[in-house]
Amino acid sequence: MRVMYLVKSNHPGPPTPELGAAIGKLTEREVKAGRLLDQGGLMPISMGAEVRIADGKLSLIDGPFVEAKEVVGGYAVFELRDKEEAIAMAKEFMQLHKDLMPGWYGTCEVRFFATPPHNPHP
């Protein structure tokens, strides 16, 4: 099954060099295992924008953004066997943050891609 991980935090600042290196190693391992399909980090929301519909009205929010809100800082797409694998992978990834970037807090959301109803290949 295809899984998307969305890493959300409002912790400021880039990862520590140690965390960066550890994530790099994990990434390499997962590419070589054929499981990691795509991944990337995102620039802060202050550099981006939001186009929103509320009360039937479309509006553009080009900042300033509420800083207390958790925003997506990075994502990864994996092809994995089952939900257990997906969770194990997320835990390993988050454990790295816990060990190598003290004080960091955030969430790694584990989301499965939707598949059409008749697909025998989930």
Binding site: V31, K32, G34, I87
Partner: protein, 361 residues
């Protein structure tokens, strides 16, 4: 299987490629490394339900597997002494021992390649190669492989045991082909991967979910191969072929499980992400000079369909030409029949009939 067991298996599967490649390097024996990696799983299944899953399960598994490997090396050393069996083995062990730590941290590229080539050794029967590859590269259990291949557990277990014995006894348990042998060995690897893919692709609705999952295992294996051997055009060709085929999985059958032919498929159900990956892999194969390869040509044919927004947009002339190349490379009545179909679409029924007549004659 309990939830705890499933969670442990998942953790082990993620760690498995690195565990087995590290141990293989220590022990210079892939089948043995696989045995000990399995033993690490057994240890986890014994301990973790009581103690809880450790915070760093990967480190736990690594330490356990390493300990088992060291025990094995010590036992072997003692045996060697007992039988006064040449200083050679001892010397080898001495050389292996000091590297242990670095071996476990080192880049796994070469070892992964060795693992793939060993599991898919042409000396082994095809069925055994597929079973061994799923076990050693993907970490499937014997039960899972049996379910996926609609075989009994005993049959698969025997296949694996025999294959590992063959490898060990013929001294093929730790070697990487080089030079001219490499391409022949590579084709054996690609053949195994494609066999696994097709087994999954032929899964019917209502089959065990592990059967269609074989397609993903094959895709993972091809990606793993490419990650460590990025310049082999046909590996990219095979990956392209599989991605492009798999991209149509959802559109291939109706709610009752009956097949839907290409002209009638809802192209909105084709997996665009997978198509993009397939086209990228095909481009890579062509860039490496492999446009005329057996897998790349087949991938190029499916790519013509994948690129067509509607059935009517299909570039039949190109498909005809690609089938022509495929025929020249690998003459077969089935390919010629497919070519006739494409000729019919490109040039009209008369031209197709002429080919069919020749086929019959």
């Amino acid at each position: 299987m309990t939830d705890a067991h499933r969670a442990i298996l998942a953790i082990w599967r993620i760690a498995q490629p690195r565990l087995i490649t590290s141990l293989a390097r220590m022990l210079r024996d892939v089948p043995l490394a696989e045995d000990l990696t399995q033993e690490a799983l057994v240890a986890a299944l014994e301990h973790w339900p009581a103690t809880g899953i450790p915070e760093k399960p990967d480190a736990w598994l690594t330490a356990t597997a390493k300990r088992k490997a060291l025990d094995h090396l010590r036992r072997r050393k003692m045996l060697a002494r007992k039988h006064a069996q040449v200083a050679h083995a001892l010397e080898q062990d001495e050389q292996t021992m000091p590297d242990l730590d670095s071996a476990l941290d080192d880049d796994i590229g070469d070892e992964m390649l060795r693992l793939i080539f060993t599991a898919c050794h042409p000396r082994l029967p095809r069925d055994a190669r597929a079973a061994l590859a799923l076990r050693m590269i993907c970490g499937l259990t014997t039960v899972e492989i049996a379910r996926a291949f609609l075989a009994t557990e005993a049959t698969v277990a025997q296949r694996i045991t025999r294959a590992k014995r063959t490898l060990s006894e013929s001294g093929l348990g730790y070697e990487t082909p080089r030079g001219p042998e490499l391409s022949q060995r590579l084709s054996s690897v690609l053949e195994v991967i494609y066999l696994i893919f097709n087994e999954g692709y032929s899964a019917a609705r209502g089959d065990d979910w592990l059967r269609p999952e074989l397609c993903n295992e094959a895709l993972r294996m091809a990606r793993a191969l490419i990650a460590v051997k990025p310049r082999e055009a046909e590996a990219h060709g095979l990956l392209a072929l599989m991605e492009l085929n798999a991209s149509r999985a959802a559109a291939r059958t109706d709610a009752a499980g009956d097949p839907i032919l290409l002209p009638d498929q809802d192209r909105g159900l084709w997996d665009r992400i997978q198509i993009r990956r397939g086209l990228q892999a095909l481009a890579q194969a062509e860039e490496l000079g492999g446009a005329g390869g057996f897998y790349a040509l087949q991938a190029a044919i499916i790519a013509c369909h994948a690129r067509a927004g509607m059935y009517a947009d299909t570039d039949w002339a190109r498909i005809v030409s690609l089938y022509g190349h495929l025929m020249a490379l690998h003459p077969s009545p089935i390919i010629e029949l497919n070519r006739a179909g494409a000729v019919g679409m490109a040039q009209g029924p008369a031209a197709a009939l002429a080919i069919l007549e020749r086929l019959r004659g």
